[in-house]
Symmetry: C2
Subunit: 233 residues, 2 copies
Amino acid sequence: MTKTRRERIRAATINEIKEIARQQMGESGAGALSLRAISREMGMSSPALYRYFASRDDLVTALLVDVYTAFADALEMARDGRLQGDHIGRFTAVACAYRDWAVASPQEYALIFGVPIPGYKAPSDVTSPIAARSMIVFLDVLVNAEKAGKADFSDSYVAITPAVAAQLQPWVDKLQFDGDIEILYTAMSNWSLMHGLVSLEIFGHFDLCITDVSSGELYRTEVAALAKRLSIQ
Amino acid sequence: MTKTRRERIRAATINEIKEIARQQMGESGAGALSLRAISREMGMSSPALYRYFASRDDLVTALLVDVYTAFADALEMARDGRLQGDHIGRFTAVACAYRDWAVASPQEYALIFGVPIPGYKAPSDVTSPIAARSMIVFLDVLVNAEKAGKADFSDSYVAITPAVAAQLQPWVDKLQFDGDIEILYTAMSNWSLMHGLVSLEIFGHFDLCITDVSSGELYRTEVAALAKRLSIQ
DNA sequence: TGTACATCAGTGAACGCGCGTTCACTGATGTAC
DNA sequence: TGTACATCAGTGAACGCGCGTTCACTGATGTAC
């Protein structure tokens, strides 16, 4: 655990690179990330970066991992800020944390959920386990509410056909999920709504028709509607 | 209306430029659109393009207009493929057309709804009226269903607070909308879910947990659930 | 404690690339008389 | 119908830019004896 001096400095430099990269992403978008621009801002020559990342793609991957992690952390923190038995509190907190995080760091959100960066393909073996984490947090809240008998998933949904149930199988397997398939389905559906609302807001597509989306009023109303629909308590 | 020979050729060239641009967008993403690449493919020199578009941004804007129009056309066609009184048919058709169009032309979808192209700002006076068209098609279906007494928007939603209602005002004004505000709200909400489902699918974020998203099974299930929730008939 | 050597961080120059855009130009197509 | 002129489409060369990446190198920092 005790690192040598060199290792500490090295780690600090890596962090600085990533921090500046994140910052530049915030200014000009994830696609415009440039090693030369980063090195310029750091007062280094650009080849020096190759001591830390083997290529631009490697840096992007590292950022992706960080961002996924930060996102999942934010959701977990929101959940754990409420008592275990406070199911509706947890549901609302996680759903709102989703938006809050995205609003606070739109370019990070875009990096994760936006159009893939042209010419860059994330190595899914690295990416996908971390990507799953955030979704699991949300699912977890639903599962626990249901186990406690404080939510009802069967009501306002159409029957899930066997075909759809089969499509969800990989997800079931991956999580070794033993609950009702309706819960998984509901999680996906709610997640999709959250994603839709947030990305429309962040990318400015609500500006046409709504004033002051940034208040989050509309989003919270939707979350409340979801909670009501699931009779979550 | 009768165009001169020169005008016809000119129009044809403009179309060719736009077509190749769309095609290249489909291959390498909207952000990677390059005048030089287009001219290369056309067997022209790149300066020649400046006879047709004053700049790269101008071309992007033209594409944006085309794409928005094509999208709205697709939704309208879907709607008009069903009888006026067939409200649930129209609802389903429009909702499914939304996804079908997006799946068929993901890069176009990304151009409209994705992360804005870095360094490009769409002139909203040109863009926004056309952007509204597609949403209006969807809204129109809901309004007519409600007028005919074939839908119920009050049921599964939380009460809309005055604050939220106020936020929707610009939209009401723009459309000179005289219906119930719940309808507008519902349209936005449903639209957001559709957007969420489709963009998660298109950008590959469902790949982790679902097999064969491309069948559309899941999406159709969601649309059916929406229809049920609105008691649309 | 001092010396010899290996490892590491960082540099400057360079390669080769593609980009948007401007400019002065050549021919072809249209138009007015 | 023929001629003079204006308009238009398209070209090739060039400007200036930024990019990712490689290479041979210089010093500094660590390590083994």
